[in-house]
Structure formats: C-alpha cells, structure tokens
Amino acid sequence: MNDPHLKLLRCVAGLPALWLATAAATDLPEPSGHVARVEGAAYVSSRGYTNAARVGQAIIPGVTLSTGEGGALGVILSDGSVLSFGPHSELVLDDYRFAPAEDQLRFDARLQRGTLNLLGGDIARLAPGAIAVDTPDGRVRLHGGQMLLKVVE
C-alpha cells in the first residue's frame, strides 16, 4: 500500500475529478436567491432550459421567471429582496450582485408582461434606486419599501 508509484497513480487519477469540480464551480455562479413559493403553472428558464419551478430552486443572474394561466411564483434574493408574480407574468433577471464589501450592489431586471410585487431588501437600503425594473413602457427604480408593477402588453 505504501508503494510510491501507487500513490502517484492515485494522485494523478484524482486530478481530473478536481479539475471537473473546479470547472463546475466556475461555470455555476453563486445563487442570487431561491424560489420560495409556487402555485400552479410557474417556470424557471436558464441557459436555454425551462423547468417547472420548485420551492428551494436556485436563482442565478440571467434567469427568466414566468407564470402561465392561474400560476403564481414567489422568490427571495440574497439581500432579502422579495418578489412575487401573478398569472401570465415574465421577468428576466439580467444582472444581480449583492456584495457590499466589494461595493457591488446591482439589481437589473425586465418585466416583459404581467404583475410584480417587489419588496426591496438591503440593496434598496444601501443604494436607493439601484433596483431597476425595465418594462416595454419605461424604467422603474425602487428607492425603498414596496412597489406593485403591472405591464399591459
């Protein structure tokens, strides 16, 4: 068992696994939040794949959140911001970063259709106006507290 060749072989055999683990870690950014409530038809689309939303599912920047007929969805982000959607809604989270120590507070989303309830978390407190939601009819910035937004197609 103490054969140095065997040790070397084990070490080398372990390398691809280590490399894969690192690759996976760099490919997947740290979650920005998670799905906290699902009712009926609600979906999370990321990297070209669309899945039915599940409670606990991770949310990452670039994700599209949507609901269909009768569906509703609730999400909590890492700064404590809370979002919920009514039926027939669609939101793209273009950019999200909550790292106060690195001076990074970003929340850029697009509500394409439907309704959004948004309670601002730490990002709204530390950088009022940093939470921006674009719509086909213009941009809305939350400077604090809670807002309700409806986009009519």
Binding site: N117, R139, R141, L142, M147
Partner: protein
C-alpha cells in the same frame, strides 16, 4: 341641464377608467418610493398612489383596481425574511444576550420548509477596510459555529462579511461604534 352634466361626467369617467386600465403602471401598496425613467427625486412617495408608465402625474389607485390587478400577485408573496442581530463584546465574543438570539434563530429556521440561512459579519469604520472584511468574516464564522453547535439544521448555510460597508449606525470613517460591530443572521 343637470342631467346633461351628469351624462357628460359618466362618459368622461368611463373614458378615463378605460384609458387607465389599458396601460402599464406602478403603485405603492405601503411605505416606499419609486422613480420613473431615472428621474430624481422619486415621483411616487405616498401610500396608495400610482403612476402610469410614461406619464408624469401620480393618481390615487382605487382599492377595486388594486385588488383586480394585484390580488393574486400579493397572495403569492412568500414568508418575509427574518433578521436577527447578535452584538459582540470588545473581545469579539457574543454578548450575554446572544444565547436568546440563537434560540430565536433556531425557532425561525424550524418554522420554514426550506430554510436558507446567511450569517453576515459587520464591523465599525475603525481600521483598514480590507482588514475589516476579514474581521467581519471571523465574527460571522464564530456565530455560524455557535449555531451549528446548538443544532442548526438548514438547507443552505452561507457565511459572509460586509466589513465596514453596511453600517447599522451611519458614522464617518475611523469611528469606533460598538453598535456597528455585530453579526446578522438572515433567515429566508
């Protein structure tokens, strides 16, 4: 004459309602403030007011309209995140009240189906910024260990530091402020 005036009022009201309901808008259901198209200061500041996107004047949103447009949206709001605060003594250890806070955290975690816990260390503005990030992280790690030792069970536990960039009490740089030396536990 009077009937004619009423007739016109009804027509105008109907036209206004039809115009309103067909357009995108934002409103404040509670305390808050909202700005349209990067304007400063925010135009929307009062509870119950709304503003049509692309328009300039806020209007009062009727309870009926709010319910019709947002009842389902508000019903889908998840349980709000809870924040608990532990103060630290000068030697960096949790103070006498910490044990009670730890119990509150454990209970809050048990109440949730899918608890995600973030332990965040904070410092005051005394000392170098980069060093304070490390100090905040050490404080957060100490509290995370304490929570685990008391039996914390969670789907996800994150330990992080905001250093001196997220003050509880605003102070200038290089200011000792015990209230800013704290560890925050966010349960969501």
């Amino acid at each position: 004459m009077r009937a004619g005036w009423r007739g016109w009022a009804v027509v105008l009201l109907a036209a206004a309602l039809a115009g309103c309901s067909g357009r995108s808008y934002v409103m404040l259901p509670g305390a808050g403030s909202v700005a349209l198209d990067d304007q400063e200061p925010p135009q929307l500041k009062h509870v119950g007011q709304g503003i049509t996107l692309g328009d300039a004047r806020p209007f009062s949103v009727s309870a009926l309209r709010r319910e019709r447009d947002f009842e389902r949206t508000l019903a889908a709001q998840p349980a709000l995140p809870e924040r608990h605060m532990l103060q630290l003594r000068a030697d960096g250890q949790p103070d006498a009240a910490a044990e009670a806070v730890v119990q509150q955290v454990l209970e809050a975690v048990r109440r949730r189906d899918y608890p995600v816990v973030t332990v965040i260390g904070h410092t005051d503005t005394l000392g170098a910024e980069a060093a304070n990030v490390r100090v905040g992280l050490r404080r957060a790690q100490a509290v995370a260990e304490l929570l685990k030792a008391r039996g914390l069970e969670t789907m996800e536990l994150r330990v992080t530091s905001h250093g001196e960039r997220n003050l509880l009490v605003a102070t200038p740089d290089a200011t000792a402020e015990p209230r800013n030396r704290r560890v925050e536990v966010l349960i969501r």
